[in-house]
C-alpha cells in the first residue's frame, strides 16, 4: 500500500526541544492535503508521546507511517517500562518527577489524551526493557 515513512529521533532529557517532531509531521501532512482535524489529532498524539519519551525514558524514536487511509504513529523507547499499563492509562495518574511537574508537564493526561485522539492505540511495555506505543488515526 502507498505510504510515506517518516522517522524522528527524540532526544532524551530535553524538554525544550520536545514537540519538534510533531511540528515537522504537521507541516508534512499539510503539504499532502490531509484535513485539519486529522493533522490536529496526529500532532496531539505525537506531542504527548514525545513528552512521555523525554520525561520517562531517555528519548527514543518516533516513526510515522502516512498512508492514504490511516496514519500510524509508533513511539519506541528503551526506558524503564510501564509496570501497570491499565493504571497508567487512568486520567490524572502520574509518576513524573517534580522537575517535569514544575514545568507544567506530568499532569497524568498524556496517555489518556493519546487514546482520546487516536482511533486505535496499543502499548507494548516490558519493565526494564522499554515501551512501544502504537497509535492509528483513521483518515475520514
Amino acid at each position: 500500500m502507498e505510504s510515506l515513512h517518516l522517522v524522528y529521533d527524540v532526544p532524551g532529557g530535553d524538554l525544550t526541544h520536545a514537540g519538534e517532531a510533531s511540528s515537522q509531521v504537521k507541516q508534512t501532512l499539510r503539504k499532502m492535503r490531509y484535513d485539519s482535524d486529522t493533522i490536529r489529532r496526529v500532532s496531539v498524539c505525537m506531542y504527548e508521546g514525545e513528552i512521555n519519551m523525554v520525561i520517562h525514558a531517555e528519548g527514543g524514536t518516533a516513526a510515522v507511517d502516512v498512508g492514504l487511509d490511516e496514519i500510524t504513529i509508533t513511539l519506541a523507547d528503551r526506558g524503564p517500562g510501564i509496570p501497570d499499563v491499565e493504571q497508567a492509562m487512568q486520567a490524572g495518574f502520574t509518576t513524573a518527577g517534580d522537575q517535569a511537574r514544575d514545568l507544567g508537564f506530568g499532569a497524568g493526561m498524556g496517555l489518556p489524551n493519546m487514546k482520546k485522539y487516536s482511533d486505535e492505540m496499543k502499548i507494548d511495555s516490558t519493565v526494564g526493557v522499554g515501551t512501544t506505543v502504537t497509535m492509528v488515526v483513521h483518515i475520514p
Partner: protein, 444 residues
C-alpha cells in the same frame, strides 16, 4: 492579493539574508536577486527590517493622492501617538493632520473602542471557540490562513479597527458634506506593511474600505512642523478615543481593553508561530483570549514606526494616563453590529500544498525526502532557498534544478577533476583544507 512588500531590484545584491529570516519561507534568490513567492508572503515586514541593502520596501500612497478627492479623512493608527515625546493629548497630532490638508480625522483607536464594546457586551456563548484568537494583526491572520488552518475557527472574526473607523468616517463625511462616498478619500496612517496590504486587499471585507494608506514614517516627518507651530495653543476637541483604544497600539493593549482576565499576549512573529504550534498541539494555555502581533511590542514595533518600540510604549503609557478610559461608546443594535456581521470569516489558503491529489502529493513528498537526504543540511543559502528541505521541495516542484546546489555540483566535479581539486569549488567554510582563523595577539 496585492502585496505591499516589494523588492527594489537595483538595490538587491542577492545576499540571502531575507530568505533565511522569512517566517513563511516565501523568498528565493535567483539571478542574483531576491524574489518573493506571492502566495506565501504575509506582508509581515520581516524582510524589510533585515535587508542590509534596504532593497525591500513597502508600497504605500503619497500625499498627492489626496488631490483626487473632494474631501479627505485621515484614519491614524494609535501607534502614531507613540512616536512623539511629551504628548499630552492626541488632539495635537489630529489638529496637525488637518494642517497637512486632511479635512477631518477619525482615529482607528475609536474603531478599537467600538470593537471592544461589542466584545465585552456580547452574551455568553457556549459554542464560542476557546481560546479565541484576536484578528487585529493582518499578518497573523494571513499566517493562520496559510499555515494553521485548524485554528481558523478560533479567530474572532472582527473587522480591523482601522476598517471600522474608515467605514464610519466615510458615512459621517457623506452625512456632513452631502458628497457621494466616491468623492470622499479615506486614508489610513499605518505602522506596518501588512496594514498597507489590508487597505487595498482586505481579508475580511468584500471590497476595500480605504482609498489608500500612508506610512507612519512619512507622516511623522510631515507632522513635525505643524505640531511645533500648534504646540501650546488651544486645540479643538478632535479625539474620539481614550486609553482603551490607544492601548491597542501595543501588545496586550487589546486584551487589557477587553478586560480579558485569562489572556496571553504574544509579540514577534517567531513567538507567534511557536504559540500557534502549541495551541494546535493541544497544549492550550489556560487562556480564553490570545492576542498575537507579528511585530515586537505590537504595532509600535511595526516596520514603519520611527521610534524604538520600547520607548514608544513608555510614551504611550504616559499619554494614556492623561486620557479618559474611553470616548467612543458601543451601542448594541447599532451600525457596528451590521459591519461586524458582514465581515468575512478567514478561509484556508492552501499555498503549501504539493498537489491537489493526495496520491501525487505523497509521491512528491517521497521524492523531496529522498533528495533532502542527499543534501548537506547546511542551510548555506547558496542555492537561493532558505533550507535544504525547501530546496528539495523547489526541485521537485520545478522551481529549481538539482545543480543549483553547490554540493551537488561538487560531487560531479569530483568525478571529473579528481578529489583534491574539487575542494576549490567550495566556499571557504566548507573546504576540507583547514585554516583556522585567528585574531591577532591582543595589544595591551
Amino acid at each position: 492579493m496585492r502585496h505591499s512588500v516589494v523588492l527594489e531590484y537595483h538595490k538587491c545584491r542577492g545576499c540571502t539574508t531575507c530568505i533565511k529570516n522569512c517566517p513563511t519561507e516565501a523568498i528565493r534568490v535567483r539571478n542574483g536577486k531576491a524574489t518573493i513567492l506571492p502566495n506565501r508572503c504575509i506582508d509581515c515586514g520581516t524582510c524589510l527590517r533585515v535587508c542590509p541593502h534596504h532593497a525591500v520596501t513597502s508600497m504605500h500612497d503619497n500625499f498627492n493622492s489626496l488631490q483626487n478627492y473632494q474631501y479627505t479623512v485621515a484614519v491614524p493608527d494609535p501607534a502614531l501617538y507613540g512616536q512623539f515625546h511629551n504628548l499630552d493629548s492626541p488632539d495635537l497630532i489630529l489638529a496637525s493632520l488637518l494642517e497637512l490638508g486632511f479635512d477631518s480625522v477619525y482615529e482607528a483607536a475609536a474603531g478599537a473602542e467600538l470593537l471592544t464594546g461589542y466584545l465585552t457586551s456580547r452574551p455568553e456563548d457556549p459554542d464560542r471557540p476557546v481560546p479565541e484568537i484576536s484578528s487585529v494583526c493582518p499578518a497573523v491572520v494571513r499566517l493562520i490562513r496559510i499555515r494553521f488552518p485548524s485554528l481558523l475557527g478560533n479567530i474572532c472574526p472582527l473587522l480591523l479597527p482601522t476598517e471600522l473607523a474608515a467605514i464610519l468616517a466615510r458615512e459621517k463625511a457623506v452625512r456632513e458634506t452631502g458628497l457621494s462616498p466616491q468623492e470622499i478619500g479615506v486614508f489610513s496612517i499605518v505602522p506596518c506593511s501588512s496594514l498597507v496590504t489590508a487597505a487595498s486587499s482586505p481579508d475580511g471585507q468584500i471590497a476595500p474600505v480605504l482609498d489608500g494608506a500612508f506610512a507612519i514614517r512619512d507622516v511623522y516627518k510631515a507632522l513635525l512642523s505643524p505640531m511645533k507651530a500648534l504646540a501650546g495653543k488651544p486645540l479643538p476637541d478632535l479625539s474620539l478615543a481614550g486609553r482603551a483604544g490607544a492601548g491597542w497600539a501595543f501588545s496586550g493593549g487589546e486584551s487589557y481593553a477587553h478586560r480579558a482576565e485569562r489572556y496571553v499576549a504574544v509579540d514577534g512573529i517567531d513567538n507567534v508561530i511557536r504559540m500557534l504550534e502549541e495551541i494546535e498541539d493541544g497544549r492550550l494555555p489556560e487562556a480564553d483570549f490570545i492576542e498575537l502581533r507579528a511585530c515586537t511590542q505590537g504595532c509600535l514595533g511595526g516596520c514603519f514606526c520611527v521610534e524604538n518600540p520600547f520607548i514608544a510604549r513608555m510614551r504611550m503609557k504616559r499619554l494614556m494616563g492623561e486620557l479618559p478610559e474611553a470616548r467612543s461608546v458601543y451601542r448594541p443594535g447599532s451600525r457596528v453590529d451590521d459591519l461586524i456581521a458582514s465581515t468575512q470569516k478567514p478561509e484556508y489558503y492552501p499555498t503549501f500544498q504539493l498537489d491537489p491529489d493526495r496520491r501525487v502529493a505523497m509521491e512528491k513528498m517521497r521524492r523531496i525526502q529522498a533528495l533532502e537526504e542527499q543534501l548537506p543540511g547546511l542551510r548555506c543559502g547558496s542555492c537561493g532557498a532558505p533550507s535544504c528541505r525547501a530546496f528539495a521541495e523547489d526541485v521537485v516542484m520545478g522551481r529549481a534544478s538539482e545543480d543549483d546546489c553547490i554540493f551537488k555540483v561538487r560531487e560531479r566535479m569530483q568525478n571529473v577533476a579528481g578529489k583534491s581539486e574539487a575542494d576549490e569549488y567550495l566556499p571557504a567554510p566548507f573546504r576540507r583544507r583547514r585554516t583556522i582563523p585567528q585574531d591577532p595577539p591582543a595589544q595591551p
